[in-house]
């Protein structure tokens, strides 16, 4: 297995009239080919910005993005990148042009990249893509407004697959769908990954969805990675106080063995000119003086399990190594 994508110390700051907004503030990770990296966090943690940075929709302030061994941080001509990396958007209502029919939407990337020699080839390629994502052929002349959210999201997926990319950033692709439709789309995405050896970066606020689809997970808080490990490991040994809070806040659909909901106080603080120290300090129940002064580093606390917390060992009764 080789690393398809590697990100080093990636930063994105936005200038606002109130100061510098630290949307992504030094993130490192890598994704192996054919695997799924889940990115979870609440609104404003920088997960969507991270997704957009990685496929070069926006330019980073600092840091490196390495794809297939090549540094793509400064690549100017993005056409060739788009054939390799694509994006599936959260909102299937605003991410489709309302004045284009289903087949026009799906064939657009094929036309731009001149992937088909003639009209017949284009036609058959679109039909094939629609079949792949489970859209009935009779819908090809329909317009997005005639279709429900699940079908629209299938159009978004077909469009992303059109150029046969290796890497797809999925930005909350199922958050706006009903649960029964959400499950259909998740199954579709997992089947496609198996058939086409796709690599996903799957962004979501829903931990149960992320757990279901991911191999590795990073938990983000205010532009920083607070915990990074294998998907099942995160749920067996949750180490960071924020991940713990996030996990315990999920209401589980069962009447058995109700876990105690641990509430965290307060709300996410502003990412504009963040104070020194740990960004979670204001809401953390384990907070001590040092947390307000020094920013914790992301350290390997257990094998392949990284946490950024001064007291990760202490809180979890682990021996320091």
């Amino acid at each position: 297995m080789h690393k398809l994508l590697e990100v080093k110390n990636l930063k994105k700051y936005f200038e606002t009239k109130n100061g510098l907004l630290h949307a992504v503030d030094g993130v490192d990770f890598s994704i192996e080919e054919g695997k799924t990296l889940g990115v979870v966090g609440e609104s404003g943690c920088g997960k969507s910005t991270l997704g957009r940075l990685v496929i070069r929709l926006i330019d980073p302030t600092d840091g490196k993005i390495i794809y297939e061994g090549k540094d793509i941080t400064k690549v100017k001509c993005k056409g060739s990148l788009r054939r390799e990396m694509q994006l599936i958007f959260q909102d299937p209502f605003s991410s489709l042009n309302p004045r284009m029919s289903v087949s026009q939407i799906i064939e657009e990337p094929l036309k731009i990249h001149k992937m088909c020699k003639n009209k017949a080839e284009l036609r058959s390629k679109v039909d094939e893509l629609m079949d792949t994502v489970g859209l009935a052929a009779k819908l090809s002349d329909s317009y997005p407004h005639e279709l429900d959210g699940g079908r629209r999201q299938r159009i978004g997926i077909a469009r992303a697959l059109a150029l046969n990319p290796k890497f797809i950033v999925c930005d909350e692709p199922v958050s706006s769908l009903d649960v029964s439709i959400q499950a259909q789309i998740l199954n579709l995405m997992m089947d496609l990954q198996e058939d086409r050896k796709l690599t996903y970066m799957f962004i979501s606020h829903d931990l149960s969805v992320v757990k279901h689809i991911s191999d590795e997970i990073i938990v983000m808080y205010l532009g920083l990675v607070v915990e990074k490990c294998r998907a099942d490991e995160l749920f067996e040994h949750t180490l960071h106080p924020y991940s713990k809070a996030l996990l315990s806040a999920i209401p589980e659909p069962t009447t058995k063995k109700k876990k105690e909901m641990k509430l965290i106080q307060g709300e996410i603080t502003s990412p504009i000119n963040p104070k020194p120290g740990c960004r979670f300090a204001a809401r953390c129940s384990y907070v001590r003086d040092i947390c307000r002064q020094a920013e914790p580093e992301l350290k390997e606390v257990l094998p392949d399990h990284f946490v950024s917390c001064h007291f990760a060992n202490e809180i979890n009764n682990l021996k320091a190594n």
């Binding site: 609440e42 009903d178 649960v179 029964s180 199954n187 149960s208 809070a245 996030l246 209401p251 659909p253």
Partner: protein, 323 residues
């Protein structure tokens, strides 16, 4: 009359349609249920199941036109609120029953301070003076966890979670007997959702308020509800206390909903979603509305409409499998 067992709310054979140019949208079709005092009912279903229309019916707020309450009764304390005159409705809404809407961003008036929005309800219903209404409004803010010195702030100065707290303060200001919460936490992050749910739970316990919680999230229901009703295509397909519905699930649709949820506890490679899509409410299938998607479909499901069957005491299922 007010003996312990008489329900606060009794919905009888309620049918609500929207008459549109494209046809008749059959939003709510012959639903009946009771809600006892101090109890909480979770109303669960997907988009278009008729949850919100049911709630609007109970508030007598169905927009007419295009909405029409075709038949049925909604008895609150034994009185049919659908027969109320305008001035009776004014006293009913906000005082006897009040509602928390899904989107706290649009539920508040952006031009009026949050304090005034709470105080207004108190002046209208409890006939408080201006000064008293502000004192009570400050108390309500503290009660929902907002410092009372923010009473003169405008909605845009609050975050989403805080706005929803303000909406809850308005809804509970006059101590209503019935609270209808329509997806109160759907627009919020999970940690904030947990805070708001625990706030609602504490407040309705403190005041003995009955509640109908509308949600699409089967997890949220278990945090706060005593009973749950599952809606599909304008009908209640299953109803019972939490344990009955979650542990002895009867209806194939409810089972499909559970199968669609990725679980935190067990690792499943594939989910088992319900096949197909929600039916078009202007053209509902004949017989059982769920039959085109049902894995347990029988020949008679196509022609015969199931009636509600009590499979065990207090557990109702609307499915021919049990007839």
């Amino acid at each position: 009359m007010n003996d312990r067992n008489s329900p606060l709310l009794s919905v009888r054979n309620l049918t609500i349609h929207y008459i549109t140019d494209d046809g008749i949208v059959r939003a709510v079709n012959d639903i009946s249920f009771d809600l006892e005092k101090g109890k909480t009912l979770g109303l669960v279903g997907e988009t278009g199941a008729g949850k919100t229309t049911t709630a609007l019916g109970i508030m007598n707020l169905v927009p007419d036109p295009p909405g029409k309450i075709i038949s049925g009764q909604i008895l609150v304390n034994g009185k049919d609120i659908l027969k109320f005159k305008k001035n009776e409705l004014k006293k009913y809404r906000g005082k006897v029953a009040s509602m928390v809407l899904q989107d706290p961003m649009t539920a508040l008036n952006p031009l009026i301070t949050v304090g005034e929005q709470i105080a207004e309800v108190l002046r209208l219903h409890d006939k408080l003076s201006r000064a008293d209404s502000y004192i009570k409004a400050a108390q309500m803010l503290e009660l929902v966890g907002i410092p009372s010195d923010r009473i003169n702030d405008y909605p845009h100065e609050f975050s989403g979670g805080m706005k929803q707290r303000v909406v809850i303060a308005i809804a509970l200001a006059c101590n209503p007997q019935l609270l209808i919460a329509d997806e109160p936490t759907t627009a919020l992050d999970v940690t904030i959702q947990a805070q708001v749910l625990s706030l609602i739970r504490d407040l309705i316990k403190k005041y003995g308020t009955s509640m109908i919680l509308i949600t699409h999230d089967l997890g949220v229901v278990t945090e706060i509800c005593d009973e749950v009703a599952i809606m599909y295509a304008g009908q209640i397909v299953e109803k019972g206390d939490l344990e009955a519905v979650y542990e002895h699930t009867g209806h194939p649709y409810t089972r499909g909903l559970f199968g669609s949820l990725p679980s935190l506890a067990v690792k499943a490679h594939r989910l088992n979603p319900i096949e197909g899509l929600m039916p078009d409410p202007t053209d509902l299938p004949k017989g059982c509305a769920f039959h085109p998607r049902c894995p347990d479909k029988m020949p008679e499901c196509v022609s015969r409409t199931p009636v509600v069957i009590e499979t065990e005491p207090g557990h109702f299922v609307r499915c021919l499998l049990y007839e």
